[in-house]
């Protein structure tokens, strides 16, 4: 990039803004569900501004089952954006949450999913109940198992562990993987996670999720398994990379690697043809160097 003359840069930018201004004095709002742009009426310097009419209008659009689905989703997006106003949105929050609870059982799947996620992000007990019921009785599920577990996972307190165990046993694919993520909070699952991490017949994604989960649940168990994976030239590059980065980012004094591990990784760094393994090995060796310098 060449050096830029600042005065010239200002002139050019001024001309560009002027061109934009004359072409169009306003941008289009989030598609066309209302007359104006949702942000246009928010003038924070004017204390008289009242969000009430706009919030009421958006809530009406979001709950109107006769409206086009895009309009309803746009209204939900706009309401979520208004929530970023903190105290200015507070007077409408109770109604907003109540509306989301209604929309959680909407006939339209995309509306249900959006509402349930927004409730799950605030750890809403009503949404948790709906999601757990759906996992228990799949016929009444409001969202697919994988999505339900993902939403339940926003609450890190482990309430969903029994449901996750059940889904893990009965499912494949994304639902099984989401179940594993929830089991990362369950000390009783450490042995299973270690087995999955080391199992070469398992899917790469399952092994990597298990490695990450085990690292959280039982770091010393992870370290033992990771060292074995890293040293195994017959194992797959994906899990070796994941294991290496897991070891590299552990910066505690007690996890300082011994010479044997450093030698293994140094050898791996020079011999591996996998860019991911090389990058992870570099990261590990750099972290080791940093630790020895501090």
């Amino acid at each position: 990039m060449p050096a830029i003359d600042v005065d010239e840069y200002r002139n050019r930018y001024e001309q560009e803004l002027e061109r934009t201004r004359t072409q169009s004095t306003r941008t289009k709002g989030a598609r066309s569900y209302t007359d104006g742009e949702p942000g246009d009426f928010i003038a924070v310097d004017d204390a008289r501004d009242d969000l009430g009419p706009r919030v009421a209008q958006l809530l009406a659009v979001a709950t109107d089952r006769d409206r086009k689905i895009d309009d309803r989703l746009d209204a939900l997006q706009a309401l979520s954006a208004l929530e970023f106003l903190g105290a200015r949105f507070s007077p409408y929050r109770a109604e907003w949450v109540s509306t989301l609870r209604t929309l959680a059982e909407d006939p339209r799947a995309t509306v249900r999913r959006s509402a349930l996620e927004q409730l799950a992000l605030r750890q809403d007990p009503h949404a948790r109940e709906l999601l757990l019921t759906g996992l228990d009785k799949p016929a009444s599920a409001l969202v697919p198992d994988a999505v339900a577990l993902q939403f339940l996972g926003h609450d890190g307190h482990g309430d969903a562990v029994p449901a996750a165990r059940k889904v893990y046993r009965r499912s494949k694919g994304a639902a099984r993987e989401e179940a594993l993520r929830i089991l990362a909070t369950d000390p009783g699952s450490a042995a299973m996670l270690e087995r999955l991490m080391k199992d070469k017949s398992e899917k790469s994604s399952v092994r990597r999720i298990s490695a990450a989960a085990l690292q959280d649940l039982d770091p010393s168990r992870f370290e033992k398994a990771a060292r074995r994976v890293v040293a195994d030239d017959d194992d797959f590059n994906e899990i070796r990379s994941t294991s290496l980065t897991g070891l590299a980012l552990r910066r505690t004094a007690e996890s300082a690697p011994d010479d044997a591990l450093v030698q293994t990784v140094t050898k791996l760094h020079s011999s591996s043809r996998s860019p991911a393994v090389k990058a992870s090995a570099s990261r590990f060796l750099a972290a080791t160097r940093d630790r020895s310098e501090t």
Binding site: Y9, V44, G153, G156
Partner: protein, 410 residues
Amino acid sequence: MQVELDIPSADAAGRVFLTWTPVQATARLAQADDASPVQVTLRGRSSGGRVQFATTRTHVGTPELQLTLPANGTKVSFFVAGVFGQPSKALDDGAVQVRVAGGAPVVAEKKVTVRIRKDATKMTGPERDRFLTALGTFNNRGTGRFRDFYEMHVSGTLDESHGNVGFLSWHRAYLLDLERELQAIDPSVTLPYWRFDRAAPSLFTPAFLGRSDATGRVSFTPGHPLEGWRTAGVPGITRAAGFPISQAPPGLRTENATIALGGPAPNAQYGGFVAMEINPHGFAHTSFTGLIRNPATSPRDPLFFLLHGNVDRLWAKWQWFHRRTDPANPRAFAPALNNRIGHRLSDTMWPWNNNTAPPRPATAPGGTLAPSTVTTAPGPSPTVRSMLDHQAVGGGAPLGFAYDDVPFEV
């Protein structure tokens, strides 16, 4: 003959970091060959970041500068800054060299990094990886100090940072605090920004901020530093774009439309500009599903910091274009809604002020603002006012960051 260069924006290891803001430096003869003054030439050497020189504090520098150094060792002052448009790509990839006028040998040299926040889509692979590694290390799988950062931005704290005129000041301090923490891990790192009014497909890849599957689960390349990301006891990141990632999110104000908020020059007012909190800021958040869409969970997704990097860049660009960095200018800021504490120019900002008296939140995670190795501003407990002139256009100490497309201009 020995020449000593003193460029004050250096860390404890003597590495010099520059932005676009000129830094007053000195050169002196530490050991003279005879009693005559010596003419020397300052010049930049670079494989990346380039520097320029001046004898006054100006944005118009030159690639070379002649100085006459007295034999008695008296310091001679000059200004040095990064050349706008030519930031570093790696640590110490630039240098200031001193040669005796007309002579070839370099008699003094200081390595320099022109450390600038960049558009995330224009970072080199190594720049991207260093940023991600520093962030992954700082979070340390949910056990590191990154926790303080997302706890600063949860339910019950948002009145400090949102819905009022201090929105931009608060988030500027927030980003600066995090950037300094990352620089303590790797001094070459700066926070990149996501230009949300442009397509950024390279950002939403497994090698960078991750790719989302149909459930909204974000996955990374094996061994990626954020692969084991964990926050608030919850593993991973959920996020799905509600738009094709080959395009920009729909409905967001463009940069030019955002800069036009607050009115045209010369009467542009901050009170109008800060309406950007809804659009583009709020709409950029809610263009996705997942953690980023909710104010109380959004900082748990690293995308938050790139999104807010762009929000802050837009403010910096508006300030530069309309010359609104002087807090004494009534158009550079606006009265706080309801006179809310924490949003007035002279107020200190929570949590860095450790003030937990109502109406402030009951706890103040994270302590004071991280210090910088290269500047004294804004101090441990920043005020709203201290965030306005980040490049120190009006003098004093800069905050120590700059954007690749926002110049320093006096």
